[in-house]
Amino acid sequence: MINKKVNNVRDALKGVKDGMTFMLGGFGLCGIPEKAIAELVKLDVRNVTCISNNAGVDDFGLGLLLKNKQIKKMISSYVGENEEFERQMLSGELEVELTPQGTLAEKCRAAQAGFPAFYTPAGYGTEVAKGKETREFDGKMYVLETAFKADFAFIKAWKGDAAGNLVFKGTARNFNPNMCGAATITVVEVEELVPVGELDPNNIHIPGIFVQRIFEGKNYEKRIEQRTVIQKS
């Protein structure tokens, strides 16, 4: 078994530098790498490019890096929940590349899987296709999209083992599996690090080969963005 375990978030983020490109898992605040984000704030790395579906909220998730003005560029599909984001973007302080959500996922997956480029129908005829090659297949138009390139991927899983095998929970899975192995170094934080051999080999969502470093985080906040509940009558 090839051991990926590191002791803490500090060791996990070794090598993180100004100007790098990061991928961060999560959808809204669901399944985000809370510990890695907190450490990035602490390390105060600057001028970074972040690839993440959303940009967090003003005081949580990637919003913390935004508030701290550490982010030079965001690559996301939806950023509607963050006022500081909108302010920085409209003022021109923040560079923003909006990408259709399915294309965003596939650009990660392409990087993971060694595909340089693929054709997708999403965004054809829109701003998103500007400057990109378009092409017809079977009478329908498609846009050529290329794989992402990133230095670090920060992943949040539910359970994992020292071999780097991962299991996600519910919709906290989202982009996390697609970003594993899509960057030079994949750093995973888990809620529970279990002994190697405990995870069922049939039900491992991401095999350890896609992971370079793994550690157990404590006391996850897991903030809920839109608490919608029904009152028991």
Binding site: G31, S76, A105, E106, T120
Partner: protein, 217 residues
């Protein structure tokens, strides 16, 4: 005139047995509340769940189980969770039968705009561009006019597009419209709304063919 729930109620009539349905944020999310109970429907949310159920009871919500609107949800028996790439395989691969989403503008050629107002507002397209580029059955839920009374049912979209030539049906607070042959075709009026009122609120070419029935909701 319909309110948001009325629009959702009317759209729910379009949902057929054995449909996999993707609901956008806003009015579309409300559609789930009005689907007939004697048909089988499964709701897909692009953040990675198939088989969504109602909202959870207070105290039973789980931060790890949400829909694309970031709302806490529950799941039905037979539900499944999956990653974003597989989620969009369902969408792009045409496995979802019906897509219901909101819009800022729709044009008579089927173009839709719903993600950006240059210089003012940029929320992003989320999954909408993937959805409209692939779905063959798209219903738009929207207000017929904006807050200043200007039509959002247009000859040509003025805002940046989300997709081209993709919308086939629109349900607004005033009417049900079909989009075909570069024209809007009036199918139904909202309760108490006249054809004239709809014509006045529609900037695009509106075809009114014969007697237009009132919605039955």
């Amino acid at each position: 005139m319909l309110d948001k729930n009325g629009i959702a109620k009317r759209i729910a009539q379009e949902v057929q047995n054995d449909f996999y349905v993707n609901l956008g944020i806003g009015i579309p999310t409300l559609v789930a509340n009005y689907v007939r109970e004697d048909i089988e429907v499964e709701f897909q949310s692009e953040n990675g769940v198939l088989g969504m159920g109602p909202f959870p009871f207070d105290g039973e919500e789980d931060a790890d189980i949400i829909n694309a609107g970031k709302q806490t949800i529950t799941t039905m028996p037979g539900a499944s969770f999956f990653d974003s790439a597989l989620s969009f395989s369902m969408i792009r691969g045409k496995h979802v039968d019906l897509t219901i989403l909101g819009a800022m503008e729709v044009a008579q050629n089927g173009d839709i705009a719903n993600w950006k107002i240059p210089g003012k507002m940029v929320k992003g397209m989320g999954g909408a561009m993937d959805l409209v580029a692939s779905a063959e059955n798209i219903i738009v839920a929207m207000m017929h006019t904006n807050k200043r009374g200007a039509s959002k049912i247009l000859k040509k979209c003025s805002l940046p597009l989300t997709g081209v030539g993709c919308v086939t049906k629109i349900v607004t607070n005033l009417a049900v419209l079909e989009v075909k042959d570069n024209q809007f075709h009036l199918l139904e009026r909202a309760p108490g709304i006249s054809v004239k009122e709809i014509q006045e609120a529609t900037e695009g070419t509106l075809i009114v063919n014969g007697e237009i029935p009132e919605m039955n909701i």
